[in-house]
Symmetry: C2
Subunit: 451 residues, 2 copies
């Protein structure tokens, strides 16, 4: 509100009657707040009386719930939703070599990548994720489906020194990634192409350098798995005489446009290297836990001032894409690791899933907080439920009590993609039937393979 | 099915068209199964063609979802739902002394215990819990509300050597517990009274012995917090020259009717003592994580053959009563602790939340599995959702992907308490309004107290 009375410009959408967690630099929380959206952006926010509600084309009533920035998943492999729960509780070798790799070889082609991506987008939207950072193969197909869904994403075409779906000859891997980036760099404001170089144990130093060089020339994010397991760290140490982070640093892979995924097996020297490079980290606790990989030293990354986002990893190792559950897990895991209940407090973890996640993937000027001028990527959490009452602290509730199913409404760039828990851009009945048909094929294959 | 054709006795209820996880001794899974219920019990189960569906008064169609035993929460303090999220991320001392204890002193009286219990029952039912084991004060009020809800419970009146709600003079604590047990021991088939002796650090050896003696004479379960924090273990070690488990053992507290809650700070000798005594353990990983207490050696308890159930603990340290989330956390926590993805596999964890939980609280002859003759405590999980598709392994889905909100129907002793996600015995609108009013009072008190 100012001297001229309430904001009364005509807008496309108003979200009213919610506790607005802005996640801005001042951590402003607006009780009974309203957010006005026009042309994909947030144009005004304030208390209920600061905006004239009669000038909106559409209104979402948060009914006393929580309005917050959409959640940002900084690492996943969306086509792998088709393998959700295919193989669990197995040693890493058996899981990968007897189940996941054979299933990928048999089923990862464009049509199934499309189905898996649609399924992932449906799941993510219905649990409050508005933006994700993906890395896989046939990423062009992923991009087409994400584009149709209306979600925002950073999509990395995979680079690996083995034959891969869509790249049968690994000598083409950099060129394929470059082609993908060039194709998508101006297609949509919502899709940022990227390069996803699998890891230092599956890519030679030459491949890593060439892929990073391509990403640098094209001005896109470079994602790489790093220091996920002790086995990997030991392998690189024995082959290169260095830790995974040192190895990447020596080959000039680390800079402010690099996202290190996992970063579990690092020491203080590695963390200092990451900090000095400006690189960011994607922390994927549920996947690291389920695969028995280890616990990344999150408090040390944060103390060093390294941008850290949260990631679910792919569905085969989680088994979901639910960032609300991931936040709860993150906060609790690090408390018990340090035997300190004040570690990884709810506010810090919520930042990781919003503004810090945006920073980690280079989108913090556009998304991650509710601020005037930023993209309208917002969600509403319905708190009128037994497990969300009473409500003393909305940040605590988001991290420790809310579930994906509590997200009632989701908006990306001002477009409503979930309204009152219904998907608006995705045809769930159609996706469901196609997933069921594919499930039957994959189950039969996996059972044959097991025998 | 037998020679005489399908089962065709008239029954009260049929649940059809689900994958039935029996959790029986053979771990039978019945695809497209039906379960018939009459007079509170399961009278038949089998494939779709083994039961004549025309002889049922009522039918629940699981629509291809999962039918399984209701979840069993082996440790909670239900009235504490009114403090959900009141204080988080604080050192244990500040959390207890500056927030929880003052709030309990100010607000724990019969009317608020009733509200908190109703809220807890609503939350538990809507997330698939059919039976819980509680320990608190004013437990008579808890019992009255649980009775009205239709849930099954083991309810322990608290014993502690300090003034407590309803027991201002601790010299009356054993007599009060005895009165509670005598009042409730024949009131309802669904409510088993018990004695909840707070801990060895808040109760003298005399109190522990007297409380256990009362429980033994009355033939009821004896619950006790034990070895939750290193501070507690150190205190008892320095005061008694023994570990908490050794101390309880020396005073003859441990037997097959004793439930040790937490059991985090134990060594191999303690585990051998627990095993030899026949006592059971309630494992509460989320609470132990959130309070930074430590990680109980679950794999060692299981290897020793000790019955271990899952518990959420109270809402002030979790912050929910959701056993589906607790299962996911349990499986992942122990994998990463041992760096072994095969630890705490989904099937083992699901048993902890069902039949092993029942065993831990002495109810395994009545509940915990779907078997002919057992009580009809059942839930249906709706799997027609993006995060539960595809479905290769229903056990994996229950542990790693399902959420409380996926529970569509809940039955206790043959009575439907949740139908298609609506509570049938609890008036949610009324509970909600009363929780809101109480929330305002508690928030004002907590804010004053903080200043």
């Amino acid at each position: 509100m100012n001297d001229r009375g309430p904001y009364a410009e005509p807008v496309d959408m108003l979200i009213v009657n919610g506790t607005v967690l802005t996640m801005d630099a001042y951590d402003r929380v607006i009780e009974n707040g309203s957010v006005a959206i026009k042309d994909a952006r947030i144009v005004f926010l304030g208390g209920a009386h600061a905006i004239d509600h009669t000038h909106a084309n559409d209104v979402i009533d948060a009914r006393g719930g929580i309005v917050m920035p959409g959640l940002i998943n900084t690492h996943t492999h969306v086509p792998m939703t088709i393998f959700r729960g295919l193989a669990d509780d197995l040693p890493l070798d058996a899981w990968l070599n007897q189940h996941i790799f054979p299933a990928e070889a048999a089923f990862i082609e464009n049509q199934n990548v499309a189905i898996g991506t649609q399924l992932a987008c449906a799941e993510m939207l219905l649990s409050g994720t508005t933006c994700f950072c993906d890395g896989y193969f046939l990423e062009d197909q992923v991009a087409r489906e994400v584009f149709k869904s209306g979600m925002r994403a950073v999509l990395g075409q995979g680079v690996i020194d083995f034959p891969a779906p869509g790249v049968p000859d690994p000598r083409d891997n950099i060129a394929a990634a470059r082609r993908f980036v060039e194709m998508w760099c101006n297609q949509s404001a919502l899709i940022q192409p990227a390069i996803f170089c699998h890891s230092a144990y599956t890519c030679s130093a030459e491949t890593l350098r060439a892929a990073k060089s391509a990403a640098r020339n094209l001005g896109v994010l470079f994602q790489v798995h790093a220091a996920e397991t002790s086995h990997e760290a030991g392998m690189i140490q024995s082959g290169q005489g260095q830790s995974p982070v040192q190895h990447l640093s020596r080959h000039a892979i680390l800079d402010a446009n690099t996202l290190l995924v996992h970063g579990v097996w690092v020491d203080d020297d590695d963390i200092a290297i990451v900090k000095d490079s400006g690189a960011a980290v994607s922390h994927n606790p549920e996947s690291n836990m389920k695969l028995g990989s280890g616990i990344a030293p999150l408090p040390k990354y944060l103390a060093a001032g390294i941008p850290v986002g949260l990631g679910t990893d792919g569905c085969a190792s989680n088994n979901d894409l639910d960032l609300l559950a991931e936040m709860d897990m993150t906060a609790k895991l690090h408390k018990v690791t340090l035997l300190d209940p004040s570690t990884a407090d709810a506010h810090t973890v919520l930042k990781m899933a919003t503004i810090e996640g945006a920073r980690a993937i280079g989108l913090d000027s556009q998304i991650g907080s509710i601020e005037k001028g930023k993209q309208a990527d917002l969600i509403v959490i319905d708190t009128q439920k037994p497990h969300l009452m009473p409500l003393y602290d909305p940040v605590s509730h988001v991290v420790y009590a809310a579930r994906g199913s509590d997200v009632s409404d989701v908006m990306v760039a001002g477009k409503v993609l979930v309204r009152n828990r219904s998907l608006t851009t995705l045809d769930w009945e159609d996706i469901r039937e196609r997933v069921k048909a594919l499930q039957a094929e994959i189950a039969a294959f996996n059972n044959r393979n097991r025998c």
